[in-house]
Amino acid sequence: MTHSRPHDHSLAYAEDDLGEVDPVPFTQRAAPDGTGVLVSGTCPRCHGRTRTLFPWAIPGTGGKGLLDLVRGRRPTGASATEPDPLSEEVHFCECGHAHPQGPPDTRYRGCGASWRMSR
């Protein structure tokens, strides 16, 4: 099985899109301090343990339309239902290891791989 293999530290950084991967080695749970949802598992490329926090935050400008405000209606969309980052988001390796030939300023410290979870 992939998640039993050791973390390949010598693997060169590459922005590989791995497509859909098996969701079994991954879990998502609310962060202990309530700041967001933590998705953790094993990177399908470098096999390191990867943890990504999806925080609750106010994005950019905007929000309820004035008409929504008048009607007292909550906007529909992601916020109206329980968020499910595991299956809705694209995931990036955050094994924490600076893989060789990686960019110095990447937002995701890992091997560069990205993937989605198949349902």
């Binding site: 922005e15 899109d17 967001g36 949802v37 999806f54 925080p55 609750w56 935050a57 106010i58 994005p59 950019g60 400008t61 905007g62 929000g63 309820k64 339309g65 004035l66 405000l69 909550r74 906007p75 969309g77 992601a78 916020s79 968020p83 980052p85 809705e88 988001e89 694209v90 990036f92 937002r107 995701y108 990205s114």
Partner: protein, 201 residues
């Protein structure tokens, strides 16, 4: 959606984690500026209200003009709020910030801002049109008749017109039909203010 775009969205989402507070402050500043503009609008309305120009109008014209000005004020108010909302956003509930969530949120927000801008434009144009309508109406109807209309009943008949003067000997009324009419006080049966001379018996 390409893998490269997904990565860009995810990186943007991660950057936003650190800009939430400055963003809120910027929004607050935008709203403050917009509300200052609204205060100016209110001041203009109070100024208009303070003028007594409208009292010279006939009832129907005064009511219509007042209605037009009030409607236009409401429209301009809504238009301004919508424009401020489009430019600076409103207070937003939090979303679970990830690249895809941010992408969906942005698509919705772009739609909402566009709609707010279209509505704001319509409100402002219509508001200005109504104000112009009120001014034109006031202009047209004010020019149609003099003030201080009286209905003067004398021993020989009734005249209606603008009161020019009255002293111990005579009363002077300027009428549309008969020009200036001078009636001696001794012949005056009654004199009453009149709203209009149009419905003369």
């Amino acid at each position: 959606m390409t893998a490269h775009a997904d990565r860009r969205w995810a990186e943007l989402a991660r950057e936003l984690e650190f800009t939430t507070l400055p963003e809120l402050r910027r929004q607050a500043e935008g709203w403050r500026t917009g509300l200052t503009g609204l205060t100016a609008l209110l001041a203009v309305l109070v100024l208009l209200k303070g003028r007594d120009d409208l009292t010279a109008l006939p009832d129907w014209a005064r009511n219509t003009a007042t209605g037009l000005v009030l409607s236009s004020f409401v429209l301009l108010l809504i238009g301004t709020l919508l424009a401020v909302r489009a430019a600076h956003g409103t207070r937003e509930e939090e979303i679970l910030l990830g690249g895809q969530a941010l992408r969906r949120w942005t698509e919705r927000e772009v739609y909402r801002v566009r709609r707010a801008l279209v509505l704001a434009t319509r409100c402002c144009v219509l508001g200005v049109v109504l104000v112009v309508g009120a001014v034109v109406l006031a202009w047209v109807t004010t020019g149609s008749g003099p003030s201080h209309l009286v209905k003067l009943r004398t021993g020989t008949g009734v005249v209606c017109g603008e009161l020019v003067g009255a002293d111990r000997r005579e009363v002077t009324v300027r009428t549309e039909a008969d020009g200036v009419v001078v009636a001696r006080q001794a012949t005056v049966v009654s004199m009453r203010p009149a709203r209009s001379c149009a419905a003369m018996p």
